[in-house]
Amino acid sequence: MTTSLGKIVDKVSAGERLSFDDGITLFLEPDLLAVGSLANEVCEHKHGDRVYFNRNMRIELTNVCVASCLFCSFAKLEAHAPGAHTMSLEEAWHELETRMDDPPSEIHIVNGLHPGLPFSYYEELLSGFKRIKPDIVMKCFTAVEIHFFAEHYRLSHEEVLLRLQKAGLDSLPGGGAEIFHPEVRTRISHDKATADQYLEVHRTAHRLGMRTNTTMLYGHIETFSHRVDHMLRVRALQDETNGFQAFIPLAFHPDGNGMKNLPAPTAVDDLRTLAVSRLMLDNVPHIKAYWVSMTPKIAQVGLRFGANDIDGTIVHETIYHAAGSSSPQGLRYEELVRLIREAGRVPVERDTHYNVVREWMPSAMPEAACKVRDRNADRHLRVLS
């Protein structure tokens, strides 16, 4: 452990906020375990042994997209390009209808920026899901999509969000943040919402009463300074609105995209980035080890490196898999419970807004010996810092 890390340990113990330079130190510190254990302490102080997951279902309706992000292996620019696909509303709803015997609590929708669909497509999409399952939580459309809707349909951010909210939108996923700093953003995704526009959409959503997530795509051409800068921009908006629930670092995967010559970040970088996120983002309640991006194995270790959420069942992820992710496309509920338990944590099923649905007993294997405690009565328990 270096002296500068020693100072950071003191600051963290005193509850002081870390600076930009501290963030750089945390990335450069040779002792990964020192950074990880510090993040783990902060995480345990905030959440004890609890690790959240949910029953969610990802749907990607269209891969047609007007943006040309270098890191993306999913989008097809033209509607008629080979492999381009857009679901009908009925096809989308069918995904939920076929799972009503064991339904998800959340639907997470992320799409390409499709230039040829009417706005009503999205409104009907939302209201249709709510018709099938009125209490389903719709966490749909990244800030980049919201901004695209505003420009494309000549509406303000607020108008877009209000209309979608009326149709059933509950929350925004955190995608599209990439790296905020213009030195990077202009190079990897020059033709979509800027950092300010992205943050403005979330600011507006928070003002309208929505709680949202945010992300950071790391491990490509950005430097540690860009990562820390990114975190500080999140922290600043959070100071203003307190509307972010979770921060989700996303590892860049290189297969089949415009940066395919870059090596993917390795596991030690994944773990360190989780840890630094936990330490820098003192005002964001949850840090998520997104198992799709970092593999279930490393996500499990991430639960000791600052993360207290592991995302959900997902069911059928396609964006990361287009970029060569080796993770499964979905995990069964029991697999998530087991993954969390094996890390020595207490699995807590949550809804989108971190209300507790069900808290599992902490004991490890065997599964059968573990009793389930139903915590529906306690739905309003918010585990904030």
């Binding site: 390795t266 596991a267 030690v268 773990l271 490393i298 270790v301 087991r338 294997m365």
Partner: protein
């Protein structure tokens, strides 16, 4: 319920168990090491065990009252030679009792101020070992018979008492805490009292069995063996534990008496600090770490041990190829999806023509060895292996890391040869080292459940011991996550450590969890990456005498393998060739080695290739 008792079958133990109430106890007799194994592996409830075994376990209590010891000469634990100790260069150790072996090391190094070379040999061979510059430790009944045949005899108990002024305790009744209630304890004490009254008749019976005169043996039981186990004997035992832990031969141990006042439990931090500094851990210590230490406690301690053993920030790896020469096998292990029974349509034996391109690829890619393993195929005789090895050496000059203990035992049985003879012949044909596969968990209860037809843990260790004695090196492994308990895994590690004390032949340790595959019939038990990292870190802490720990990326994936470099590993295993990769080997190899080095570098280490002896081949990059 009947308590299961195990006791040492030597003459000196007879008075303690001869009159044991057989309605309250079932009794089994065995050699000391076997008695200790039974207690360790829960095959008995209370046992008269060598005290060193109790120290290695660390989670047993002693029953007060009676034990087997001596104050002054005992007559049955001797170092014998035909010359003074001062000129002896090598001493053979009878491996059936670890206590005497540790006592011998302590006494000899106290007397000489140096260590001679210690050679592990079974009792029968130890006696034959004595010659010019060579002495032997002999114990138990063989010692009583052999005592007058040598010009120089050191009675180790006498030497101990002379050195410390205290009695010595060789074996004592021990049990897991809480197993022996007051009534059982009383019955054991009563049996001892009655047995001691009958020492003369016991000696008579023994002498009659062996056709020997009674008098010396009656005197041995009456005068030499001290059966008391009170405060003074306990003090002597504590001194032995202290000396042995100082010499790093045994874990630090407190003599804990059943039903006695609770002893202070060692704080976790103190166990961790001891481990970091290279101190020895008992099975009980290992379990404390397993159950109480956080992931970071284990990571930091194991990382510190790695740094102490390997001060340079370098991670090694090897370029080799895994060649499975046959899939025909007679054992049908429940966890194996690879084997085919004899006569099965999918059974194969690789021909030279099939082997040649594989080996040529290794050579072209700069590889230095092959890992050659296969099933137990009854059609392949020792000559087949000799020819194959000689051919590989002559044609390709590759190192041969070949044939697990199971395969070597199979050849020995099939050919009616001793394990040593098989190893000597294979070594002559080109064998360089023995892979540590097939160890699984070296606890027979576990082995019987997952691989009934496979060798016992003692047989596995026996082959490794013989190989090491011939100058061959080997790796050692652990496959957990079937029906094994946490304690089984600790026992496994201690068995490896005990053998390493004897031979120093293990180069590296690798562990992995049971890989559930289709076609196997065992349900996986505990698993997960966190557990893997904990298990590897604990192994690094327990195996204080093994130089290297490797990250098993082949089973855990390259990501976890990389993280494991911060959990005690200093080696990244091997860049293996994919059997089904059609593209030119050069390309595949460079990609793989580069990816491996890339991961090593990103984890903060330099990378260097090694050979099977873990010697660097070049400078780290």
């Amino acid at each position: 319920m009947m308590l299961r008792v195990a006791a040492v079958k030597y003459l000196n133990a007879r008075p303690l168990y001869e009159t044991l109430d057989r309605e309250a106890f079932s009794l089994e007799l065995a050699l000391p090491g076997e008695v200790a194994r039974r207690l360790a592996e829960d095959e008995c409830d209370v046992a008269l065990i060598p005290v060193a075994a109790a120290a290695s376990l660390g989670d047993v209590v002693f029953l007060e009252g009676c034990a087997i010891g001596a104050s002054g000469a005992v007559g049955s634990v001797l170092i014998v030679a035909n010359e003074p100790l001062e000129t002896v260069r090598e001493i053979a150790l009878d491996l059936s009792s670890r206590t005497s072996a540790v006592l011998a090391r302590l006494v000899v190094s106290h007397r000489l101020g140096r260590q001679p070379k210690w050679v592990g040999l079974p009792a029968s061979e130890a006696i034959d070992f004595v010659g010019e510059g060579r002495a032997a430790l002999i114990i138990g009944d063989p010692a009583l018979v052999a005592r007058d045949k040598y010009s120089h005899v050191i009675d180790l108990a006498a030497a101990w008492t002379e050195w410390t002024g205290l009695p010595f305790v060789f074996a004592a009744w021990a049990a897991r805490d809480g197993v022996v209630d007051e009534r059982a304890h009383e019955l054991i004490a009563r049996a001892a009292n009655e047995g001691l009254e009958r020492r003369s008749s016991i000696a008579e019976a023994w002498a009659a069995e062996h056709g020997l005169p009674v008098a010396p043996y009656a005197a041995y039981l009456r005068e030499n063996v001290r059966y008391a186990f009170g405060p003074r004997e306990q003090q002597g035992l504590q001194r032995f534990f202290d000396e042995a832990s100082q010499a790093k031969l045994l874990p630090p141990t407190k003599v804990v008496i059943a039903g006695g006042k609770a002893t202070r439990i060692e704080p976790l931090d103190s166990i961790l600090a001891r481990a970091e500094q290279g101190g020895r851990l008992s099975v009980g210590d290992g379990l404390r770490l397993f159950r109480e230490a956080s992931l970071f406690d284990l990571a930091l301690a194991s990382d510190a041990v790695r740094r102490r053993k390997h001060p340079q920030p370098v991670v090694t790896y090897i370029v080799d190829r895994n060649v499975n020469y046959t899939n025909v096998c007679t054992t049908s292990c429940r966890f194996c999806a690879f084997y085919r029974p004899v006569g099965h349509a999918e059974g194969y034996v690789l021909t030279r023509d099939q082997l040649r391109p594989k080996l040529q690829e290794v050579v072209s890619a700069g590889g230095v060895q092959i890992l050659l393993q296969g099933g137990l195929n009854p059609d392949l005789r020792i000559g087949w292996y000799e020819d194959l090895f000689a051919w590989i050496k002559a044609e390709f000059g590759l190192g041969l890391h070949a044939l697990s203990p199971e395969e070597i035992l199979h050849i020995a049985k099939m050919e009616g040869l001793s394990v040593t003879d098989v190893l000597v012949r294979l070594q002559r044909a080109g064998l360089d080292s023995v892979p540590g596969g097939g160890a699984e968990i070296l606890v027979d209860r576990v082995r019987r459940k997952i691989a009934k037809a496979k060798c016992t843990s003692d047989e596995w260790l026996f082959v490794m011991r013989k190989a090491h004695q011939l100058g061959l090196r080997s790796s050692c492994t652990m496959m957990y996550g079937t029906v094994d308990s946490e304690r089984d895994r600790m026992l496994h590690l201690v068995k490896l450590r005990d053998l390493q004390d004897e031979t120093g032949g293990f180069t590296a340790f690798f562990c992995w969890d049971f890989q559930h595959e289709q076609g196997t019939t065992i349900e996986p038990g505990d698993g997960g990456t966190t557990l893997y990292l904990r298990q590897q870190a604990i192994a690094r802490l327990m195996l204080d005498n093994v130089d290297h720990v490797g990250a098993s990326w082949v089973t855990q994936g390259p990501d976890v393998g990389q993280v494991a470099l911060r959990f005690g590993a200093d080696d990244f295993g091997s860049v293996m060739f994919e059997e089904n990769v059609v593209s030119s080997a050069g390309t595949t190899f460079r990609m793989d080695a580069r990816a491996m080095e890339e991961r090593i570098h990103r984890a903060g280490f330099r990378a260097v290739r090694r050979n099977v002896r873990y010697e660097w081949l070049g400078e780290p990059s």
